[in-house]
C-alpha cells in the first residue's frame, strides 16, 4: 500500500510515513512505509503513539477501497504468469502455477521474474512457492531460509515457524503464546483430540491445510472480457452491402452476449482492417443502454459511407467500450407502457446524437440557486425526474443572453431604474420599470458583486431585464442587459 503511495509521490521514497484511517474514534495506522517500519511503527498502532516514537512522521489519509482496488489490479496483471490468480485476505495474492513455471525456465527463474518485475514497479513483495496454499502463505510471510519448498517438504519447512503462520485467530494465538508454543514444531506432534479440546477444531483444520492433508480451494479472479466481436472474411470486402452484412452479424453476436449478461451498450466502435494494413473505424453513442440490433444498425448506417474500403476489408471488429446494466424487466416495461413512446424519442435522439454529437442534446432541471445562470442544471439523463418545482414567483425573461452585455445608461442614483439606455447603438427610452430584485453572489461558490435586476419596458413595448453590478458610491457600478421578456 505504501509502495503504491510512493509510486504516486516519488518524493516520499525512503521517508518514514504512514497511511491512516479513523477506526472507532481513534486514528489507526493502516500501512507504514519501510523506513517507518524500521523504527517499530507498525500497522494497527494509534497515530499518537507513532508520533511519540518519531515526531517528524508524515501522516496521510488512506482512501477506503483503494487497497482492494490496487490488489485487484495487481491480480489482473499477474494473469500474465498463470491463468488462476486469487486474492488472499486483503494483503496477498495466490497464484496457481501448476504447469506454468517451465515457461520461464523453472520455478526459481519464475519466482525471480515476478519479484523483479514488481520491484521495478516499486512494490516490495515477498513470495514463496509450495505445494499447499497454507504452506505458501506461511513461508511467504514468516519463512526465513528459502522461498521455494520442494514437493512434499512443506512439513519440514513449517516446523520452525511461529504459530501465527497458520492463519489463526488472535485469541487462539494468545492462548498458545501463554502455553509456550512459540514454534509449530512444539505442538504439531501432539494428539489431535488434545489440541482440539484446547484450541478448537480450527487449528487442526489450518494445520491439515498447510500440510496438504485437506484440500483447500481458492476463488480465482475473473478478468472482465472486453466486449468485442470479430469477423474475418475470406475475400476482401469492398461494397457497402458487404460491410452491412458483416456489421449485422457482429451486432447480433454482441447483442446476444449483452442479453445474457443483462447489459446494454452506450458506445460502440466498428472497425475494419484493410488489406493494406490500415484501419477504418466508425463510432456511435446512445442516450440510454440498448441492445436492440436494428436500432444500433440504424445508428451505424448513418456513418457507413465514411468507411473507405480501399482494396478491401479483411477483418471486422465490433467493440463496446462502454456498457451499462439494462435489466430484462426494464426492457419489457418500456415496451408496454407509455415508455414505448419514450423509447421512440430516445431512438430519435440517438440518431440526432450520432449526426451532430451527443453534446448538443440538453434537458434542464431546476436547481436551488437564485443566481440566474445557476438556477438550472443539466439533467443527468433524459428520464431523470424533477425533484423540485419550477418557480414562477419571480419574473424571469423568456430569452436570456448567455453572457450579459454591457449597456450605457442614464440612471438616477442611488438605486432607481435607468431612464434610458443604449444597447447595440440604439437608445431606448424606459417607459415602465419594475425592481430592483437584488441577487447576491453566492460567496461559497464565487466571489463578486451583487446584481440589482430591473424589468424595464421601452417606448416600443419591448421588455428587457437589466441589472446593475454593485452599488453607487462604494463600487463603480456597470449596467448590463441580461435578457428579454416576452
Amino acid at each position: 500500500m505504501t509502495d503504491w503511495f510512493v509510486r504516486h509521490n516519488p518524493g516520499l521514497q525512503d521517508e518514514p510515513f504512514v497511511l491512516v484511517a479513523p477506526d472507532r474514534g481513534r486514528v489507526i495506522i493502516k500501512a507504514a512505509s519501510p523506513a517507518a517500519g524500521v523504527l517499530g511503527i507498525e500497522p494497527g498502532m494509534v497515530v499518537a503513539d507513532a508520533r511519540a516514537i518519531l515526531p517528524s512522521l508524515q501522516v496521510f489519509n488512506e482512501e477506503t477501497s483503494r487497497k482492494d482496488k490496487l490488489l485487484n489490479e495487481l491480480a489482473e496483471w499477474c494473469i500474465r504468469y498463470t491463468p488462476i490468480v486469487a486474492l488472499d485476505t486483503s494483503d496477498g495474492l495466490i497464484l496457481d502455477i501448476s504447469g506454468c513455471a517451465h515457461l520461464w525456465g523453472g520455478e526459481r527463474q519464475y519466482l525471480k521474474e515476478i519479484i523483479a518485475k514488481l520491484k521495478s514497479f516499486g512494490y516490495q513483495v515477498r513470495a514463496a512457492i509450495a505445494d499447499t496454499i497454507g504452506a505458501c502463505w506461511a513461508i511467504a510471510r514468516y519463512g526465513r531460509l528459502t522461498a521455494i519448498i520442494e514437493p512434499g517438504m512443506q512439513a519440514e519447512a513449517l516446523l520452525p515457524l511461529p504459530p501465527v503462520a497458520l492463519r489463526l485467530d488472535t485469541n487462539v494465538l494468545e492462548r498458545m503464546h501463554k502455553l509456550g508454543f512459540y514454534q509449530i514444531r512444539s505442538f504439531v506432534s501432539m494428539p489431535h483430540n488434545a489440541l482440539k479440546r484446547r484450541f478448537g477444531p480450527i487449528l487442526l483444520e489450518k494445520l491439515a491445510q498447510a500440510l496438504g492433508e485437506v484440500e483447500e480451494t481458492i476463488q480465482p479472479i475473473r478478468p472482465v472480457q472486453p466486449y468485442q466481436e470479430r469477423l474475418p472474411s475470406l475475400e476482401p470486402i469492398r461494397t457497402a452491402a458487404g460491410i452491412e452484412i458483416a456489421l449485422k452479424d457482429l451486432l447480433e453476436a454482441l447483442c446476444i452476449r449483452l442479453l445474457q449478461e443483462g447489459k446494454g451498450l452506450r458506445k460502440a466502435i466498428f472497425k475494419g482492417c484493410r488489406v493494406d494494413g490500415k484501419m477504418q473505424q466508425i463510432e456511435i453513442g446512445t442516450n440510454h443502454p440498448t441492445r436492440n440490433v436494428s436500432h444500433l444498425f440504424k445508428l451505424f448506417e448513418l456513418k457507413i459511407n465514411t468507411i473507405r474500403p480501399g482494396l478491401g476489408l479483411e477483418l471486422f471488429l465490433l467493440e463496446a467500450p462502454v456498457v451499462e446494466i439494462l435489466s430484462m424487466e426494464q426492457e419489457t416495461l418500456w415496451n408496454i407502457t407509455k415508455g414505448s413512446a419514450n423509447k421512440v424519442v430516445m431512438n430519435l435522439l440517438d440518431r440526432i446524437g450520432v449526426r451532430v454529437g451527443i453534446n448538443a442534446i440538453h434537458r434542464y432541471l431546476p436547481d436551488e440557486h437564485h443566481w440566474p445562470e445557476r438556477s438550472v442544471r443539466l439533467a443527468a439523463s433524459l428520464q431523470e425526474k424533477n425533484p423540485l418545482i419550477w418557480r414562477t414567483d419571480l419574473p424571469r425573461p423568456v430569452c436570456l443572453l448567455p453572457l450579459p452585455e454591457r449597456i450605457e445608461v442614464t440612471a438616477p442614483i442611488p438605486d432607481y431604474p435607468p431612464m434610458l439606455f443604449r444597447y447595440k447603438g440604439k437608445v431606448h427610452k424606459v417607459r415602465k420599470a419594475d425592481g430592483p430584485e437584488r441577487i447576491e453572489q453566492e460567496w461559497w461558490l464565487e466571489q463578486g458583486l451583487h446584481r440589482d435586476y430591473y424589468c424595464v419596458e421601452d417606448d416600443t413595448g419591448a421588455r428587457y431585464w437589466l441589472f446593475r453590478l454593485g452599488n453607487y458610491g462604494e463600487d463603480k457600478p456597470e449596467w448590463f442587459v441580461h435578457g428579454f421578456f416576452a
Partner: protein, 243 residues
C-alpha cells in the same frame, strides 16, 4: 339540381377538401389553445395541429415576444405528458421562464446546433417521429423546398411544427399552413401604478390556409391568453358553417 342542393354539395365538398388537407372536423377533437376569438380565423375554428406554422421575427426585439407566444401555445399543445423538442442554433430561450407560459421546462429537450444545415436535418428527423408532440425550430429563414420537406414529414406523423424564422431576408412563399408575426406592445397598468404589466402582443396572422388572416391584441395573464379589444375585428363566418 336545385340551388339548395348545390349549396349542400359545395359545403360537403369543402369539408372533404379540408379533411384531405389534414384539418380536423370538429372543435371537440382539436386542442384548446385558449386563443379565444383568434380561433375563429382558423379553418373549422380549430388551431391546425399536425402542420407547420411559421413565425417571423424581422427585428431582433420581437424574437422574445414570438418566443413567449410560442411557449404559450406549447403549453396547450404539449399537455402534461408530451415531449417537445426545441431545435436551433444560438438558442437564447431560458428554460425556467417556460413554466410561466404553462409548459414544464423538463418536458422540453433542447438540441443546440452550430450549423444551419444540421438544424434543418434535425428538425426534419424530429418531425418524422410521431412520439414527439411539438417541434420548435429556430432558423434564419426557410425556403419553399425546405418547407415542403417539413410539410411532407408532418403529414405522416401529425406532429406540430412551430418554425421561428429570425431574420428572413426575404419572405418566401412556403407551404406552411400559417404565417404569424408577433410584436410586443406596451403593457397596460392601471392609472398611476408603477411597474411593468403582463406581456402584451400584437398577433398578426399574415397567412392561414383556408382561414381568415387578421390582427389581434393578446395578453398573457394568469397562465392563459386573454384577447384584448380588437383593433381590427375579423369575426367572419368561417368555412364549413354557412349561414
Amino acid at each position: 339540381m336545385g340551388p339548395a342542393n348545390k349549396g349542400e354539395i359545395i359545403e360537403k365538398l369543402q369539408k372533404q377538401i379540408l379533411s384531405m388537407q389534414g384539418f380536423r372536423e370538429t372543435a371537440a377533437q382539436g386542442v384548446n389553445t385558449g386563443l379565444g376569438a383568434l380561433e375563429m380565423a382558423f379553418p373549422n375554428s380549430v388551431f391546425p395541429t399536425g402542420a407547420i406554422h411559421e413565425f417571423l421575427s424581422p427585428a431582433a426585439e420581437h424574437a422574445a415576444a414570438t418566443t413567449g407566444f410560442m411557449a404559450g401555445l406549447l403549453g396547450r399543445l404539449v399537455g402534461q405528458t408530451g415531449i417537445c423538442l426545441w431545435i436551433g442554433a444560438r438558442r437564447t430561450v431560458f428554460a425556467p421562464a417556460l413554466k410561466i407560459f404553462g409548459i414544464d421546462p423538463d418536458q422540453v429537450i433542447f438540441i443546440d446546433l452550430i450549423r444551419e444545415k444540421d438544424v434543418l436535418w434535425t428538425i426534419e428527423e424530429a418531425l418524422k417521429c410521431d412520439a414527439v408532440s411539438v417541434v420548435v425550430g429556430e432558423l434564419n429563414g426557410i425556403t419553399f423546398t425546405e418547407s415542403r420537406r417539413l410539410q411532407l414529414a408532418v403529414e405522416q406523423s401529425k406532429v406540430t411544427g412551430l418554425m421561428h424564422c429570425f431574420n428572413p431576408l426575404k419572405i418566401n412563399h412556403t407551404t406552411a399552413v400559417a404565417r404569424w408575426k408577433i410584436t410586443s406592445l406596451a403593457s397596460i397598468m392601471e392609472e398611476g401604478m408603477p411597474g411593468v404589466g403582463y406581456p402584451r402582443w400584437s398577433v398578426e396572422l399574415l397567412k392561414i390556409r383556408n382561414g381568415k388572416p387578421g390582427i389581434w391584441e393578446l395578453e398573457w395573464s394568469s397562465g392563459q391568453f386573454r384577447n384584448l379589444d380588437k383593433p381590427n375585428p375579423v369575426v367572419e363566418i368561417p368555412f364549413g358553417r354557412t349561414a
